[in-house]
Point group: none
Chain length 165, copies 2
């Protein structure tokens, strides 16, 4: 089985910015780090820029490498490539879990998404997100109401089965 990021949970952020990554997510990060071995701590990547400015996104090493590899296929110095590098490489950072399964959110990262002393972790399949709790709730509400306004043939659930394999 390829484990994916699933579920949501609330965690305390202490004065040093330390916050526990949900244990279930840790398993995914371990599997997604080719250099991980029992006893060590997995590396991964947090992307904070790009399209969404309102949350952080965590990627396993292997899933971010996939993206990196695709980007490297674009011609060096091309506009597209520079844009993607900027959004995905520049506005991101390597992270490593500590012994106890925590990471440190720097002052800068906390400010980026307006986090105080609590954070929500939300599983999104190949990635996970970190939100300030209130903003997260707003996001959910917005999603809910925009879903309700969709017509039948705009419903993404129904579109799913029309995709080819």
């Amino acid at each position: 089985m390829i484990r994916r990021f699933r579920g949501e949970s609330l965690h305390k952020v202490d004065a040093k910015g330390r916050v526990s990554v949900p244990a279930a997510f840790r398993r995914v990060l371990e599997e997604g780090d080719p250099d991980f071995s029992r006893g060590s701590s997995p590396n991964f990547v947090i992307v904070y820029g790009g399209v969404r400015g309102d949350c952080l996104e965590g990627y396993t090493i292997s899933s971010i490498s996939k993206v990196d590899k695709l980007i490297s296929k674009l011609p060096r110095f091309s506009k597209d490539r520079e844009m993607l590098e900027r959004f995905i490489n520049t506005q991101s950072t390597y992270m490593q879990l500590d012994e106890t399964g925590r990471i440190v959110l720097s002052q800068r990262l906390k400010e980026k998404i307006g986090i105080g002393d609590e954070a929500i972790f939300a599983g999104m399949g190949e990635k996970f997100q970190i939100w300030e709790p209130k903003n997260y709730q707003n996001e959910l509400n917005a999603l809910d109401s925009s879903f309700k306004n969709l017509s039948e043939d705009e419903n993404p659930f129904l579109k799913l089965d029309q995709l080819q394999d």
Copy 2:
């Protein structure tokens, strides 16, 4: 894992032109210098000519070699090759980190990109860039707004998935 240049940070440039290279970038420079050994300081290359003129670009020894190799594939004496040689070879210089992880930006280099007493380092995967902070912010804003103006099928993120693996 092959470490890449990731993230961005702001550093002071002192009266002598000294500036700290972000610790995370130092690790990448070390890995990318075949002659590096523990205890010494890695060499790398700064390109100041070329594509844009508004920032400096830093390459590891091994990534600049890749570029050099690509250039050598072009026909000798061709206009293209001459131009690239000029930008990448002529307008570049070897650099070495000092003991404390700093480099010295000469007057000339500072003038090239209009740097005063602060500099932004921005990771771009196989290379990194050094910017004057205001210019960097402008670059980001320009990128942001040009991204917003793209149509769905010009979006480089979406184009990524269409590339072959």
